[in-house]
């Protein structure tokens, strides 16, 4: 570094020798700091976060803000001491692996893969050296993302929420609302790596609750319309969405369809009742994305991903929308009202 040498040169020799002993480190730190303040910001290699998103920036907006909050908690701010390079799959999850490879090829310091197992797995397949922080709903071990939660090993760690595990609870809550009905529809994204396990759980839950399930599959937006129409036609008690980021990121669309078709619906994301849907039950995505940001910051500071245990966001939140309920001529039982984390009136 030229500037540092220049500074060292005009330090009187005697002083340099005097500071040789104990204070050498301080001295270097001092000149280092001085040098850092002299060198223009752009000359320093600012770390780059490669951010792999399965959707568009608009759909990720609330998640991104939570992520940035987490980064800030670790002392990083985009543009100040870190830059973020984004790759958006625009809902086409098949593009994720190539986007991940693209990021890995552009020499990012760290890859952030939020928004589900597909993103995490795409990132994992793209690099075995660049640290990866993932954010997902399912069980990272079962999905083959990591071998151990406490010691993830390898180059990736991250945050998981309990969204996938609690799919069956959504069925239970829906039944609470529609106790008179035995038939419920379940929405599954067949492209989701967690679809099989969720479907199995839901069937087990339906059996123990004495319910019949009609499984509807949708993996594109175009299929949503037909799905709600089918539920409406079959007079099912309600539609229970399995946990899937593709669904979660389209909460507004789903809420609009549900209210148009008059279908009592529950999804994983709070965005759904906030957009006029009936209710939601799932992990707190704000927390999970926030912790993703914190982890990203800690890795930028030099911690190894293998030393950071996979964090589980334990908070599961129940949101209910009374307006939607009254529009559907439904009455929430007091058990749900008292359990709700937020009641939208």
């Amino acid at each position: 570094m030229l500037a540092e040498e220049t500074i060292l040169l005009w330090v009187p020799r005697a002083f340099a020798e005097a500071t040789d002993g104990l204070k050498r480190r301080d001295f270097i730190a001092l000149t280092g700091a001085a040098a850092a303040s002299i060198i223009p910001a752009h000359a320093q290699a600012m770390p780059v976060i490669g951010y792999l998103g399965s959707e568009s920036p608009e759909r990720y907006a609330s998640r991104l803000s939570a992520f940035r909050d987490g980064l800030a908690q670790s002392g990083y701010a985009e543009g100040r001491n870190v830059s973020i390079e984004f790759r958006w799959a625009q809902g086409q999850y098949s593009r994720l692996p190539s986007l991940a490879k693209d990021l890995a090829g552009s020499q990012v310091t760290l890859m952030v893969a939020p928004g589900g197992a597909e993103v995490a797995l795409a990132a994992k397949s793209a690099t075995a050296t660049i640290p990866i922080v993932f954010e997902m709903g399912g069980d990272p071990i079962a999905l083959g993302v990591v071998d151990s939660l406490s010691r993830p090993g390898g180059n990736l760690t991250g945050v998981s929420s309990l969204s996938v595990e609690v799919s069956r609870k959504r069925l239970e809550f829906m039944r609470e609302v529609r106790r008179e009905t035995k038939v419920f529809a379940v929405a599954i994204n067949p492209r989701s790596p967690t679809s099989d396990s969720q479907l199995k759980n839901l069937h087990v839950a339906a059996d123990s609750l004495g319910l019949n399930l009609v499984v509807l599959k949708a993996s594109t937006e175009q299929e949503f319309e037909g799905m709600f129409a089918a539920v409406h036609e079959m007079q099912a008690g309600g539609l229970v969405f399995s946990s899937d980021p593709y669904f979660a990121y389209r909460s507004q669309q789903l809420a609009a369809l549900a209210s148009r078709r008059g279908v009592p619906t529950i999804t994983q994301s709070r965005d759904f009742p906030l957009a006029g849907g009936l209710m939601s039950y799932g992990g707190d995505f704000h927390q999970s994305h926030y912790h993703t940001g914190v982890y990203a910051g800690r890795i930028l500071k030099g911690e190894k991903p293998s030393n950071l245990p996979v964090q589980r966001v334990t908070k599961v939140e129940l949101f209910i929308n009374l307006n939607a309920a009254s529009a559907l001529n439904l009455v929430f039982p007091s058990s749900l009202l008292s359990s709700a984390d937020q009641v939208i009136e």
């Binding site: 406490s150 069956r168 030393n307 245990p309 996979v310 589980r312 599961v316 984390d341």
Partner: protein, 593 residues
């Protein structure tokens, strides 16, 4: 000795005899000790007492923090316990209705750490199960009576299970609580201990200190860095167990040890009652003893500043001392070397100046005294010792100044000495002359006359100058007679060498100019005037053993000494024949016969 040589010698002396450093060292060590030793004592005691106080304060602080932290965590558990307590207040009936389920759901809502809750009736059957993750069960009917949680709660009212790490990561614990009546059954809750993080991370000990919780086997239950808990790595947590062991060996005291990252910390511990957990609070050693380090730094800086100040003061003081001393030394050396006109210039207005004044006075005295002794040495060459002493005592040599005075001039010489000196060996000539001079000097000195000088075998003697005396003519004749007497004794021996040797004296009285004459290098006291010529001619004219006197002297003597008037003689340089008198002596009479 020239002035330059004096200075050279003086500096040489000062170089050889003044070890300048010793004074400096004495001053420096004294001042240094005066400044530094009190500082050292003050600093040392400050450090020692500061350390003790800080140690005691640290004990109190960490102890209080540990208790506070333990209380907070106990409150957390207590909160869950209170919530659970509500569910076991009433005995189970066969058909409990929906109220129990609502209570249980409300509990989940109130206590976020509780992940699931099962309510067991008095017979040990599970009547209700609610969960955040799994499906709720009503009247499940499973027999839980043999489960440790139910047995433990039934015997002790409350039971805490061991800490388990779900999927090897998330810490969980079962808490079971029994109602006051057996029929009220038991509530068994799965508690996610990650929620203690909120309590633990909120605890700040000092600036950077922290608190963490170990369960009975020493596993980390809660830590501000939740990752350490989730890692559930018992090997990595060994330092914390060692820290706990270290605290246990010094009951009631804070102990030093390493935290999980290997940093040295001070730590104190408090138990959480009922749980057998330990809350340990730590503070980095550097921060804990920061005030002491600050004090030590301060003391160190003061010590250095004191030492520098002492050194500067010592140097200044020593310079103040050494400077005048060197001037004095140099001056004294010059004066000692004879440069009496040298003056020591010191204006320090203290003892040094006084000393310099004394030295200057001494130099003046020395100079005066040396001048006097030089003068006297000069006088002694032509004055009789008594006269010289007299002048020396009076300290006044004005008597030697030129003036006109009535003197008696006496001349004497050996007859036939020139012929003798040609024939005889030089050693013999010199020996004879020495005996002759010695004898003359003795006689002159005995009579208080002034021996002006010797010239070959002759000598000139003055009376009444430079020191006046009473009756000079009489004294002069007395001396001439004594000379003759002494010389005739010697001549008796010398005639064995040459029988033509003899001794004659002539004296005359009259005014003459007397005083010091001569150049700077050769100074004489002498008399000039007719009387001197006359005395000299009379001496030349005198026979052996004869003492010739002019008329003035003869008339001054009068009849006290028998004089014989001889025929006037024609003397060289005198136009008229000069009346001549001879002192009647036995010898003269005899030679005339």
């Amino acid at each position: 000795m020239t002035a330059k040589a004096v200075v050279a010698r003086a500096t040489e002396m000062s170089k050889a005899t003044t070890p300048r450093s010793s004074l400096f060292l004495k001053y420096f060590s004294t001042l240094f000790a005066a400044a530094v030793i009190p500082l050292l004592i003050a600093g040392g005691s400050e450090a020692w007492f500061g350390y003790r106080d800080q140690r005691a304060r640290l004990n109190d602080l960490l102890d209080a923090e540990a208790r506070l932290a333990a209380e907070k965590i106990a409150d957390f558990i207590e909160g869950i316990r209170d919530q659970l307590g509500w569910t076991v207040q009433l005995p189970w009936s066969d058909n409990p209705g929906d109220r129990r389920r609502l209570d249980a759901l409300r509990l989940l809502h109130q206590a976020p750490a509780v992940e699931s809750l099962s309510l067991v009736d008095g017979k040990g059957k599970e009547r209700l199960f609610v969960s955040r993750i799994g499906l709720n069960r009503i009247e499940g009917g499973d027999d839980h009576s043999t489960k440790p949680a139910v047995i433990g709660a039934r015997s002790d009212r409350i039971w805490f299970g061991p800490v388990t790490f779900q999927d090897g990561s998330e810490p969980f614990m079962t808490i079971a609580i029994a109602g006051t009546r057996a029929a009220a059954g038991v509530a068994v809750a799965e508690v996610n201990l990650k929620f203690i993080w909120e309590v633990v991370s909120g605890i700040r000990v000092g600036r950077t200190g922290e608190a963490f919780v170990l369960d009975r086997p020493g596993r980390l239950v809660a830590h501000p860095d939740i990752g350490l808990v989730l890692q559930a790595d018992e090997a990595a947590q060994r330092p914390l167990q060692a820290l706990r062991a270290a605290i246990l060996t010094r009951s009631g005291q804070a102990a030093a040890g390493q935290d999980i990252a290997g940093n040295m910390v001070m730590a104190a511990m408090a138990p959480i009652p009922g749980l057998d957990w330990s809350v340990i609070v730590t503070q980095p050693l550097a921060e804990a003893f920061g005030p002491i380090y600050t004090a030590l730094w301060r003391t160190g800086v003061l010590l250095i500043a004191g030492a520098v100040l002492a050194a500067i003061l010592a140097y200044w003081m020593t310079q103040r001392m050494v400077g005048p001393i060197r001037v004095l030394e140099d001056g004294v050396a010059r004066i000692g070397a004879g440069q009496f006109e040298h003056r020591i210039n010191l204006a320090t207005s203290d003892e040094f100046e006084r000393l310099a004044t004394r030295f200057n006075e001494m130099a003046t005295e020395l100079s005066v005294s040396q001048e006097r002794s030089e003068r006297i040495n000069r006088l002694k060459r032509f004055l009789a010792p008594q006269v010289a002493e007299l002048i020396e005592r009076s300290g006044d040599d004005q008597v030697l100044d030129g003036r006109r005075v009535e003197v008696v001039a006496v001349f004497c010489d050996l007859r036939g000495f020139t012929a003798f000196s040609v024939r005889a060996e030089p050693e013999t000539v010199i020996r004879v002359l020495r005996e002759y001079y010695d004898a003359l000097e003795t006689v002159v000195s005995d009579h208080g006359a002034t021996l002006i000088n010797f010239f070959g075998d002759g000598a000139m003697i003055l009376f009444n100058a430079p020191v006046s005396c009473v009756d000079p003519a009489f004294r002069a004749v007395g001396m001439a007679r004594a000379m003759q007497k002494s010389m005739q004794g010697h001549l008796a021996n010398w005639r064995a060498l040459d029988d033509r040797l003899g001794f004659g004296v002539g004296l005359a009285m009259g005014p003459a100019t007397v005083g010091r004459i001569g150049s700077q290098g050769r100074l004489h006291y002498t008399a000039i005037g007719n009387v001197v010529n006359l005395a000299s001619r009379l001496c030349s004219s005198a026979e052996d053993s004869e003492i010739l006197i002019d008329r003035v002297a003869a008339s001054a003597i009068g009849s006290e000494i028998a004089l014989v008037e001889l025929d006037p003689r024609t003397l060289k340089g005198f136009d008229q024949p000069v009346p001549v008198f001879a002192v009647a002596t036995d010898l003269a009479a005899r030679s005339k016969i």
